[in-house]
Symmetry: C2
């Protein structure tokens, strides 16, 4: 038996998120079906990040065990033949039987796109959050600096989350701008439920002038979800990469 690791990219638009559910089409559900049909044995993948409905991924990670003689690195090609166009395996490789994608230390990179223009863009509509009020990017960048480092992110966590600790480390928040499109690239050792979307929603409030950048420090200290801004829409978010420490 071997354990196979997959790098999975998907357009989240037409899926009820990653996690398998009865009566809903999910990325995990589609992967399990395609793998079971390909390998002729019941397969249940374990995913690294259970992304929400509408969230996209360039590099989510999943593993499964199989006795199939197909070489691990060939599984990507065979599996892509059985997957819809909006889910594409980017890589498959054999990994250690001890490797568990949620229990191993890793660095995750998320990217959030905001379209800041007078009118929405048809071709970006499914992959960005449209904001027509002109954003003050310099204030947003300053506000973001208060979030970098190890903090208790309780204010930036959905009240529906069930976790022991809300302390996380953000390693970096980088910005890229391509005309009207603002990219926020956040890198950390793990993210709470809705954390990137609440951070973005809060930074947008700063960019609109509703809070001063320094207020973000107070929001952190209050440890209260109601202190932070709204949850930005799922469609602007993409899980770019998960890097495991070796």
């Amino acid at each position: 038996m071997k354990r196979v690791k997959l790098i999975v990219a998907y357009d989240g638009t037409n899926y009820c998120g990653w996690q398998q559910q009865p009566n809903a089409i999910t990325v995990e559900g589609i992967l399990n079906e395609a793998l079971t049909s390909l390998l002729k044995e019941e397969i249940r993948v374990i995913g690294a990040s259970r992304t929400d409905s509408g969230v996209h991924a360039k590099g989510n990670v999943a593993v499964f065990d199989t006795c199939s003689p197909i070489p691990a690195e060939k599984i990507s090609y065979a599996l892509n033949q059985r997957l819809p166009e909006d889910i594409v395996i980017q890589k498959s490789e054999e990994t250690s039987l001890e490797f568990h994608p949620r229990r191993c230390n890793c660095v995750k990179t998320y990217e959030y796109k905001i379209l800041n223009s007078d009118f929405p863009s048809p071709t970006h509509r499914l992959y960005s959050y449209f904001v027509y009020k002109k954003l003050d990017l310099e204030k947003m960048k300053l506000a973001a600096t208060f979030l970098v480092g190890e903090h208790d992110f309780k204010s930036f966590c959905s009240i529906h989350a069930q976790v022991e600790s809300t302390v996380r480390t953000i390693y970096s928040i980088e910005w890229k701008q391509d005309k009207d499109l603002i990219h926020i690239i956040i890198c950390g050792n793990g993210f709470l439920y809705n954390m990137v979307r609440i951070i973005t929603g809060t930074l947008v409030q700063v960019g609109m002038g509703f809070y001063q950048p320094e207020h973000v420090r107070e929001i952190l200290e209050l440890k209260d979800r109601k202190a932070a801004g709204p949850t930005a829409p799922a469609k602007g978010l993409q899980l770019n990469e998960i890097r495991y420490e070796v």
Copy 2:
């Protein structure tokens, strides 16, 4: 009566191109319906560029005449309320009654996106041409230089086109690369039917090593569609902008 000029953006994925046709959903058809319903008079727009099925636009131009008292610059907002998400008016303004979007001199900018990677990308699948064979970008750039200037582009024109002259001027071909995504930005005084897609298809042949860059000069001289490369897929193409000379 006044003439109103619209800047129209659309995601071409779900349309049988710009031009109105019986029994097909087209951008022009949808615009005519929405304008007729908004202005309570029969409206038939005249478009600048009759883009093909699947081609996208950031800035196509259309005009129409109306007796409506709604100020021209407010029509964009009212019209967007009646349009689907994949067609968005970016601007509306009054223009001269003599202005005809196809008869006036203009500079058009098209952008073609190629995804050059081992596997397709789900979120770029509708907006780029996926090529997995590694492309030699330097050779493609050199080949493109032979196309800049005034030339007879008969070799780069669909045999189905009916035009008097196949001479056009390309002002510039610019390149942008963002990781695996190659953008070709072509600017000219007019383009023949399928011209940008045939140019791209030919440059991809060069990038794959099937022709030397200098062969593009011979293709031009042959004035024969069969001498050029294949027509690259519509979905990679976007009409970025049309600038009229004043």
